[in-house]
């Protein structure tokens, strides 16, 4: 039934998008926009609102083994280290894919809106996402807490720290990392989100040592010079 629901959601969502395309506030759909400020700050709920997304890569599989194999494959140079700029491109196979800087109006980032607005596939896709979390001080025993539709793998400063697998909906604080240290200054959060069919989105935030959301983190798309 889940697949049915997802199909219906996709259908209805597509109709809505088609109907409103002409009046959409931005080219990225109703919930997303291109950043116009240098930074954003996490609010009381701690969700990270700004990301740079690479256009979808066609893939297949949501199981742990399939997703782990998928993210370990080198799709483009420096895929675990690149700090992408808006408009930069990567060559993936025979395709040239573009990075897009994106702000979300919601707690989550709707990848279906993103892919649909760009006239890209929304099903059986892998989307890479990168953001910079600037912490005013070193914070120990924090956790990266994520939710995604569907599977996803997450890295903090180059280390894999969380993953969820299989067909699933976005649940706040679904996958949670072990206790981590957030460095003073910039910290790179990188994600690979894999969708099977239908709707796709993700959310992410940091929790403090008492498992409370961390507000006041400055989110940028590039490391400060």
């Amino acid at each position: 039934m889940n697949e049915f629901r997802k199909s219906l959601m996709v259908l209805s969502c597509g109709l809505v998008l088609a109907a409103t395309a002409a009046s959409a506030a931005t080219a990225l759909g109703p919930t997303l926009s291109t950043p116009v400020t240098p930074s954003r700050v996490t609010g009381a709920d701690g969700f990270i609102p700004r990301w740079t997304l690479l256009e979808p890569i066609p893939v297949n599989g949501l199981t742990q083994s399939a997703v782990q194999a998928m993210v370990k494959k080198q799709w483009f140079p420096d895929q675990f280290t690149v700090i992408p700029k808006d408009g930069a491109t990567e060559t993936v196979g025979e395709s040239t894919l573009t990075w897009h800087a994106v702000d979300t109006k919601l707690y989550n980032l709707n990848l279906y809106h993103f892919a649909y607005a760009l006239k890209k596939p929304t099903s059986n896709i892998l989307v890479w996402a990168v953001t910079i979390v600037n912490s005013p001080k070193e914070m120990k025993d924090v956790r990266l807490a994520i939710g995604s539709n569907a599977a996803s793998v997450w890295w903090l400063n180059g280390e894999e720290v969380a993953a969820v697998y299989n067909d699933r909906q976005t649940v706040i604080d679904d996958g949670v990392s072990k206790r981590l240290t957030l460095n003073k200054g910039p910290n790179v959060v990188r994600a690979a989100v894999v969708n099977g069919g239908g709707a796709t989105d993700f959310c992410a935030r940091f929790l403090d040592a008492n498992d409370k959301p961390i507000p006041g983190l400055t989110i940028t798309l590039n490391e400060p010079k």
Binding site: M1, E3, F4, N60, G61, T63, Q64, S65, A66, R143, A145, G147, A162, V164, Y165, N166, V171, D173, D174, G175, V176, S177, K178, R179, L207, D211
Partner: protein, 553 residues
Amino acid sequence: MDGLTSMRHKKYLSLALFAMPIAPVTTALALDGEPGIHDPSTITYDDGKYYVYGTGGSPLVSDDGWTWHRGTAPSRTGAAPDVIHIGDKYFMYIARGYAQPKADIFMIWSKSLDPKSPDYKWNDGGVVASSDGVEDSNAIDPGVFLDHTTGRLWLVDGSYFGYIRLVELDPKTGMQKDPKAKPINLAINCEASDMIYHDGWYYLLATHGSCCAGASSGYNIRMGRSRHVTGPFLDAEGVDMIQGGGTQLIGSGDRKVGPGHFGLMDLGDGVMKFSMHWEADLDRGGASVLDIRPLLWKDGWPVAGENPKEGVYEIHSVHTSTSLAMAVEGMPVGGGRMRQGPGLGPMGGGGPRPGGARPANGAGAGAPAAGAAAGNAAPGAGAPQRPANAGGPGAPAGQPRPGGGFGAGIFGGTGSPIADQTAASVSANWPAGDVPVAMNNYQLQAQEKWQLTAVPNAGGYPGSPYFKITIAGTDRALSATEDGELKVVAAFSGAPEQLWRLDQLADGSWRIMPKSQANEKDGMALSAVGASFPTLAKFDPKSDRQHWLLNRP
């Protein structure tokens, strides 16, 4: 000798049992060591040890609340003592009977319960309550209660012959506050009373039925409650205990007969237990033994909980409604089946999952791979593959099948029962060595089913031994890590981080703590920090993150 006199007489005769140590039962989940006692006092903690005193000066002492040994008798012995710790003193109340129902209750006190302590010295206080042999009272079976809401100290006493009576004591001296004050009658037809306070109510817990007759004893603990310490105490049906009312807290069961002599153990953080004796533990030859049970609360009434029992469980988070699992790639029970192809719809033919070459449910190496035209892998290695969209046994395609009536496909099932998934059937794909721990929506898969097994000679905690928690059918054991996280190790070693304490909480759920943390201040408990990720975190009684259900798998 009337019936009651005979009963009390037997109570004293039963002391002879305690001279003989009771053989420990290493696998039974009852208290270990030498738990033989009759009419136990409230269990009292002093400097790292638990103490409990019974009729005839037969104390038991324990380092952990699980394994008990004979202790040192106090200076005065008698019937059914009770003990309370107030300030720097331990007050003990002990009854001495004469020609029934004439009796006195004496108080003695010491600054320590440990005979090796320089502060250990029992001092005589004097008589705090008595019955003259004529009045409707039998001043034995004291139960002492400090009302933390008022700071007032109370004593209840009595046994069948007349009333359970209430007198006020001085918390500084332990003696009767006003020797001229008339006792207040609270209940009849019971003995071994005690009182507790919880959430605006006073609860009078008393033992009904006959004692001291082994497996023929009718002892059972009943209760009433009142807004006032002086009563009236009404049971759940509204019957006053002074007219014989009483809602049962606990009766006989689980191969044990005749619970009596309630005593509260408040372990803090919302964890409450109670002590009692069984008149006859059938697993210990019918001896009278101490026991400790969780004390739960439901609709404003105490409920007797259960100590953890060995078995296979789903460990289910109250907070997230997901379940603890070893983080390996799961295999659907019965093998991978899913809808196939456009146009078939949900009732269409079953087909292999992506990667359907994975053997299903018992199929090991060499099992036939599910091909494009094969689906619905049947249980068991080498079972013939059913063609996609095919009917069940004896059911032509499109006709109702034994399992449902949807015809073939994912909604129609395989047409025959699907066996439980065992670890042996799927573990060939599990990694060796340490494996992370996750939480899943429970799907009855092998990596989600946990075996709880009591570990002999590993110590315990009030009421229970430590347990190992292993993936059912394997020796892969849940373990705490040094950094306060979790993992599943390849084999149980008996290390403290692999031993688990399970305390049933007031709502019936469980707190689960590793032994390596269980005795620490601010000890860490299994915690559902994320829907898919468990950790260890300081136990917070106000949160449900550390509340777990042990469901049958």
